[in-house]
Amino acid sequence: MTGLMAFASSLPQGADYIRILPEIVLSLFGMVVMVLDPLLDEEASQKILGAIALVGTLAGIAATWYMSQFPGLAFWNMVQVDGFSVFFHVLVIAIAAVIILISYEYMAVQKIRAGEYYALILFGVVGMALMTSAIELVLIFIALEISSISSYVLAGLRRNDASSSESSLKYFLLGSFATAFFLYGVALMFGATGSTNIVVIGQRLQEAPATLLVYVAVALMFVGLGFKVAAAPFHIWTPDVYEGAPAPIVGFMSTAPKAAAFAVLLRVVFEINAPGGFWLIWVSAALSMTLGNIGALVQNNVKRLLAYSSIAHAGYLLVAFAAAPVLGVSAAMFYTAAYAAMNVGAFAVVSHFANAGERYVTLQDYEGLGRSSPLLAATFTIFLLSLIGIPMTGGFFAKFYVFSAAVKANLIWLTIIGVLNSGVGAYYYLRIIVVMYMREPQRQAPVTPVPLGLGFALATSFVATLYLGLFPGRVLHYAQDSAQQLVLQTAPSPLPSSPIVSGAPET
């Protein structure tokens, strides 16, 4: 009888479900989309399913707000709701919402069947959201797989295009390798510390000196996560995959799963205090910035160019990881948000402009856009200036916070590499602006009027980019507060250090 009572009391409470409410809501909407898809004819499904998915993301954001009222642990310490996870929940779900708005027009133009597309985006977001709140490495792995598998399929959705299939297959093969590395790292970490809970691992490592096994585990986990964020030297897949995948999906892949993977990396680096992590990150940051920028210099395809630029931006972001905890974490959080705003915006323009079959994606196609479609060109220019890091845009403050955190941590060389790189990086973004405004078109690529949904998506990214550039205070404060909480958790905390390795309830 008492055994039964104990079992009953160990069952998840209501609050536990609230702490994964956004994931539940998004999964439900994803299922509804799946179920409705075969019932609707193609014409209707384009509109209705997209609308349902959009409502789903908005409901997800509302659920996140509700969840944020119940901070704490859930499901036997596997999930943690804190400022940090709320921040990333809102970020990835908002990215998905904007991407769905962009896809509305894109799907119609490219003639892609809608059903699984929207469902996959929603399921992918479930995985990414879970990644940011999970503090149990095995759960993180499962969430990572959920998000990755949706991305693999989404990358291949332009079925009648060979480059899209190539993109999907390449992403899948390399991605599975990378997740395998991650899993291997988790296994070794478990062997070394006897736990897969991040907080417990952090405490164990504080108590005992790190063994070789720990170093190997950290390195392997970094390989897996480095692949997901496209950090050098695990970045080789990025340009090919981004070139072939549907443009809105590239906007999605380059921001949301990256943000989620960075969130995991932040927890691993700053909560576990991963030994040896510093130099891994230092080298990877320097390499990513340099290789990304140099690679982008010679690109002629805008999607490939932005792919290399995303490698470079992963490098800038990693600089923050090498810095001191609170400043570094908050700078990284701000950077992911700013990067999401500007990059999603840039891809919104690219996917609108690409036209049927993604015919217009080279630099030459953008010639004269400043004249034929001044508003679209001006919006794109703002996103590009933000990617350069020009004042008054979110990208400027993002770089600024990262580098000032680095200087504060005395990482002078990394800062110099970084600022030099951002100088070099200016060149290729500038090329796009030059082409749009200063070149006469050789052949006029057709510019269709911007439909309502896309206009809304563009306006959202535009406002977010400028808001972060002019009034960064609120977002930064929020990031700093949650960074503070996150770092405090590493200090000896009242969390029970009982074995929760198998995820079994304590009895």
Partner: protein, 505 residues
């Protein structure tokens, strides 16, 4: 509104009036004439507003005037801190003075995308004024970078044949150099917790910045590199001729007139203000670079077949005088440097306008395409001569005062510097007068030039104010210098202390 109330917001008004005008311009319909008139009104209004600054400027006290200091962002600690002293006062007025003239000179020459052109011009004016009025390092960097985009677009969209190359080169050169300044600013912030110029300066003076002695040389270089490229100091000058030759006339005028002064202003304000000891110890090689710039710039100018390139290289030479004056650390040298900055802004600005007028009529800058222009265009020739004489430093015109002061400062520092720099005055007379002779005297060599029209109304309205300013500045330099001198003395105070310390040892 009483003057006290106005004084507290005047800098904000002057800085952002052009931007507000530019934003309003976006809403106007594309009727070119209305747009031109509106831009002229906005820029004249800004000029009139900016006249408040010298009128209510207290000549005797050395503090910053018209200060405004509000928090902009709490973390990092960024303030909207503006204020001017004798260094920045006249540079602000120079900017507001030149902009309406730029509008006038572009009246006819810009006939495509007129709206965009004037929007960019007005945004550029705000950014330029902001550079001179900011007292918060972050705000300063903000405006500093903000000048890049409108200028690069003015060159790249409205320029001549190789405009794209020139625009990208200009952008990349100055952008890459200024990220070093950003790194130095970030270091200062990390070690003082503030971006406020005055606070940082006081903390450095009182020795309250940890690790400062070890880093000071690098910080000095970080700032200096950004400024040296902007000036441009030899050997960082290669972007300048390209940018000037390809830029539209108004772009050249603001580029030579104001943008280059951002660099020398930055040296005065930040290199001397924050790092006096490093300024002193680095002065020898900087002065040698300045001397090379003076002589090399002049020699290269002499052999240019292209009128605009000639004027561009003459800027390299003149700005060498400014740097020489600044790093002589003498009262005469600094006063002279400031005065050369103003005089060069006016006379070189006018020279670029004159070259632009010729280009509009003949679509070329090649000196060999002209000759004997004095007979078909007498008013133009007379105006040109006046400005050339001002530029070569004829006494009673503005060029003379500044160069004289710089030279006497350089002599005080080391006689050989003065001697070498003095040759620069001779060179400038040679290349400018020789160019003048080839273009205007003799017979008309190309028949087309017989029918070239003389100056018309709005061109006179653009040139003659410059000529008048050149004359007044040459006759009564004290009107300018009595505001500059207190700032010079304040800037030199730490050097006097250093000298007395060295004597004491």
């Amino acid at each position: 509104m009483s003057t006290d109330n106005l004084s507290s917001v005047i800098l904000t008004l002057v800085t952002f009036a052009p931007l507000a005008g530019g934003l309003l311009l976006m809403l106007l319909p594309r009727r070119d004439r209305d747009i031109r008139v509106f831009s002229l009104v906005v820029s004249l209004l800004t000029f009139v507003l900016s006249l408040h600054l010298p009128v209510y400027f207290h000549r005797e006290h050395t503090q910053f005037h018209y200060e405004i200091n509000r928090q902009w962002i709490s973390s990092p600690n960024i303030h909207y801190h503006m204020g001017i002293d004798g260094f920045s006062l006249w540079l602000v007025v120079l900017t507001t003075f030149l902009t309406p003239l730029c509008v006038l000179i572009s009246w006819k020459s810009v006939h495509e995308r007129v709206k965009e052109f004037f929007i960019l011009l007005l945004i550029l004016e705000t950014a330029l004024i902001g550079v001179f009025t900011s007292l918060d390092l972050f705000l300063f960097y903000f405006f500093w970078e903000a000048t890049l985009i409108p200028m690069a677009l003015l060159i790249g969209v409205f320029g001549h044949e190789r405009k794209v190359y020139a625009a990208v080169k200009f952008f990349m050169y100055t952008m890459i150099a200024s990220v070093f300044m950003l790194a130095a600013i970030l270091w200062l912030y990390a070690h003082t917790g503030t971006f406020d110029f005055v606070t940082i300066r006081d903390r450095i003076t009182s020795g309250g910045v940890p690790n400062f002695p070890a880093a000071a040389q690098w910080l000095f270089l970080g700032f200096f590199l950004a400024f040296a490229v902007k000036v441009p100091l030899f050997p960082f000058h290669t972007w300048l001729p390209d940018a000037h030759v390809e830029a539209p006339t108004a772009g050249s005028v603001l580029l030579a007139g104001v943008l280059l002064k951002m660099g020398t202003y930055g040296m005065l304000r930040f290199n001397l203000g924050l790092f006096p000891e490093q300024s002193r110890s680095n002065a020898p090689w900087i002065m040698i670079l300045a001397l090379i710039g003076i002589i090399y710039g002049a020699l290269v100018a002499m052999v240019q077949p292209n009128m605009k390139k000639l004027i561009a290289y003459s800027s390299v030479s003149h700005l060498g005088f400014v740097v020489l004056g600044i790093f002589s650390f003498t009262q005469a040298g600094l006063n002279g440097a400031m005065f050369v900055m103003l005089a060069h802004g006016i006379s070189t600005g006018a020279l670029f306008m004159l070259a632009g007028i010729l280009h509009e009529r003949r679509h070329t800058y090649e000196i060999s395409e002209f000759g004997g222009l004095a007979s078909p265009m007498p008013v133009y020739a007379a105006s040109y001569l006046f400005i050339v004489l001002a530029s070569v430093g004829l006494p009673l015109l503005n060029g003379f005062i500044g160069e004289f002061l710089v030279l006497s400062g350089a002599f005080q520092d080391r006689a050989i510097y003065g001697v070498l720099a003095a040759t620069g005055v001779i060179w400038s007379a040679i290349y400018l007068l020789w160019m003048y002779q080839r273009v205007f005297f003799g017979k008309v060599t190309h028949p087309v030039n017989n029918s070239v029209a003389d100056l018309v109304g709005f061109e006179k309205a653009a040139i003659w104010p410059c000529a008048a300013a050149a004359l007044v500045m040459g006759v009564a330099p004290i009107l300018w210098l009595n505001a500059i001198n207190p700032a010079v003395q304040a800037a030199l105070a730490p050097f006097a202390q250093m000298a007395s310390r060295m004597v004491g040892q």
